[in-house]
């Protein structure tokens, strides 16, 4: 971290923002821990997802599909498809995090929505780097603590359905989707995707409608790029 070039006041402001984001995400991780446990994943599997996957939407998708009776492989494929956007974040960050070797391997794990937003919002590269690492470290800590709390609390409940936890995943997906619906095209795509998924549902195993939707949206994107 070349934080030597960043003034103390600038650093303090970044840390304050990073903590704000991390605390909000920690609360969100509590709901992940609860939903994952209610879906039938063990405490260790739930925590492994937050430590090793560390990208919210993908984690919710995997446990949502498993909880709905889909195969873990359909869940894994959907998680990976949702994680593809992190590759584009990495592209935007690669000029800021021009490190090779071990440091880049660790940095890669932190390439997610929040760290990217925090890093690209700064003007000087040294500030961007500091924002990236501060947000990544704070998030990682709160995300995993939150997951553990949510999972442990849910383990104490004999039937998670009593708490309505089976109705929680759609709300979690909605909260993740809402910020992406600011234009007409994503709205139309979201509606079409929902309808197509429900139409396929009776005919294929659980989880497969999602992969059909992914293929269709990729085809749509391809056709619209050439047009």
């Amino acid at each position: 971290m070349d934080s030597g070039q960043v003034s103390t006041s600038a650093r303090r402001a970044v840390v304050r923002d990073a903590l704000g984001i991390a605390i909000a995400s920690g609360a969100y991780a509590v709901s992940f821990g609860a939903i994952s446990t209610a879906a039938g994943l063990s405490l260790l599997q739930t925590c492994a997802l937050s430590v090793l996957m560390f990208t919210g939407a993908s984690q919710f998708a995997l446990v949502g599909i498993v909880g709905a009776g889909g195969s873990v492989w359909a869940g894994a494929a959907t998680a990976a498809l949702l994680g593809s956007r992190n590759a584009l974040y990495g592209l935007r960050l690669s000029s800021i995090l021009d490190r090779s070797g071990l440091k880049r391997l660790v940095a890669a794990h932190f390439v997610i929505d929040e760290t990217t937003a925090m890093a690209i919002a700064r003007e000087a590269p040294a500030q961007s780097r500091f924002a990236f690492w501060a947000t990544g470290a704070a998030l990682f800590l709160f995300w995993n603590t939150g997951t553990l709390i949510g999972a442990l609390a849910t383990h104490l409940v004999p039937d998670p359905k009593v708490l309505g936890l089976d109705a929680a995943p759609p709300a979690a997906f909605l909260a993740l989707l809402a910020p992406r619906l600011r234009a007409r095209e994503p709205m139309a795509i979201a509606l079409a995707a929902g309808v197509v998924a429900l139409m396929c549902l009776p005919f294929v195993p659980a989880g497969i409608p999602l992969l059909i939707v992914a293929v269709l949206v990729a085809l749509y994107g391809l056709l619209r790029t050439r047009a």
Partner: protein
């Protein structure tokens, strides 16, 4: 089986993150990649909302989860924080089942 799926999914997600930092920029700057990748989460999250609300196995059903989603929509429109949206939906389902 679950463990294998979990670990493969984690490895795939990490590989995608690392690819963004490592692959030559021109591959990811391709117009098609730039066009398609941001659309994928929109479509998948919407499909996940639909299936996790209206599916029971391979059957389409209308139950308390639909009401819970309705409450979540209202919470999102009021810009409620993530945990509030999720908790409001869960509480709605729990209360309706008690009735």
């Amino acid at each position: 089986m679950t463990w294998a799926g979990v670990l493969v999914a984690c490895a795939s997600c990490y590989a995608l993150k690392l690819a963004g930092l490592s692959l030559p920029a021109r591959l990811l700057e391709d117009a098609r990649v730039q066009r398609i990748v941001p659309l994928v989460p929109v479509a998948l999250l919407a499909a996940l909302i639909a299936t996790s609300t209206f599916a029971n196995g391979r059957h389409l059903v209308l139950d308390v989860r639909a009401a819970a989603l309705g409450v979540a929509v209202v919470a999102v429109l009021f810009r409620a924080p993530f945990l509030v949206v999720v908790a409001a939906a869960a509480a709605t389902a729990a209360l309706l089942r008690l009735l």
